[in-house]
Amino acid sequence: MTPVLPDGPLIDEAVGRLVRPYTVSDGRTRATSHFTLVTVVQATGAQTQGAFGLDHAQVLALCERPVSVAEVAARMQVPAAVVKVLLSDLAEGGAVVADDAPPPSPGHCARPDRDLLEAVRDGLLKRL
């Protein structure tokens, strides 16, 4: 049973991932753009230039609707760092856009403004 063009990641139930995680990012572990786990991304639908592989296509398919980096990574079953590299490639090629949240300062928690906090509060209240 060897699928040639699998829809999902190559996962064997007994042994887990069949492809070493960083193979899909050509061994790169650093993304060129700043993505966090909660950065929301979406495919633009723009035609992509350059040679993107199956994994890039898989990322694109997963972010047809707005979705976080963490969700893409979880659904592909690869480390978030790998997805960040793939997303960087796609963002550079104009195939993906990210939310415009300011990148967090290293080692610091968010310093949210009052508007954001009130929006979160109102959203939570609606769920009660």
Binding site: T29, T36, L37, V38, T39, V40, V41, Q42, A43, T44, G45, A46, Q47, E64, P66, S68, A70, E71, A73, A74, R75, V78, P79, A80, A81, G94, V97, A98, D99, D100, A101, P103, P104, S105, P106, G107, H108, C109, A110, P112, D113, R114, L116, L117, E118, A119, V120, R121, D122, G123, L124, L125, K126, R127, L128
Partner: protein, 206 residues
């Protein structure tokens, strides 16, 4: 929305902003239950690489001593509005390493520390971590069946918390209870903002 054949990229700024809240506490304290009860999706798991700078080791070669650890983070999602999506991240288990992990708290709004009154010591590490890092947090006492019920003030004393840190009682299995805990955290953030006084707040109060 543009069709997928459209070559014009989407304009930036239309995407919702992801907001990170950490759900911490020791092993078996109900983190997974808490996230499951609140999440609108089946909770997912992702691996993140956290970097630790080891300060204790000599740097003879001029190369920074950085150790990386891969940790699994379970998370759930709550869509609050078209512009805001809240992500709840359960903190990884190896608590004794947390102090080295800058990325864990990076960009987080704040944290919920779950506590089990039968095993209060399991939450010490989390409380300590957030206090040291200056990350706003609330303590939510998960009222397990059969556990002795303590008052919030008793829990505050047991965990040696300052008066500012809110302590709430909750049932981690119940969605509305979890929402109330998150509301407590947001209220705490709003209050501490006012008392520390950002420019805008001071203007408003003047």
């Amino acid at each position: 929305m543009a069709s997928s054949n459209d070559c014009d990229p989407l304009p930036a700024g239309v995407l919702p902003v992801g907001i990170k809240v950490l759900i911490a506490g020791g092993f078996g304290v109900g983190k997974t239950t808490f996230v499951n009860a609140l999440s609108e999706i089946e909770p997912l798991s992702t691996e993140e690489i956290l970097t630790a700078v080891s300060a204790a080791t000599d740097r003879l070669d001029g190369v920074e001593n950085k150790a990386t650890t891969t940790v699994a983070l379970d998370f759930g999602r709550i869509t609050l509005s078209p512009s805001h999506v809240l992500y709840l991240f359960g903190t990884p288990g190896q608590e004794r390493f947390w102090f080295m992990w800058d990325e864990l708290s990076e960009g987080a709004l704040g944290a919920v520390v779950l506590a089990d009154t039968r095993r209060m010591e399991h939450s010490f590490a989390a409380v300590d971590f957030f206090e040291r890092r200056g990350i706003p947090f609330v303590v939510a006492v998960n009222e397990f069946d059969g556990a002795h019920r303590y008052r919030a003030e008793e829990v505050r004393t047991a965990l040696d918390l300052t008066q500012e840190v809110p302590v709430v009682l909750c049932d981690a299995r119940v969605q509305s209870a979890g929402i109330r805990v998150l509301l407590e955290l947001i209220q705490h953030l709003l209050t501490t903002r006012s008392s520390h006084g950002s420019d805008t707040d001071q203007l408003l109060r003047a």
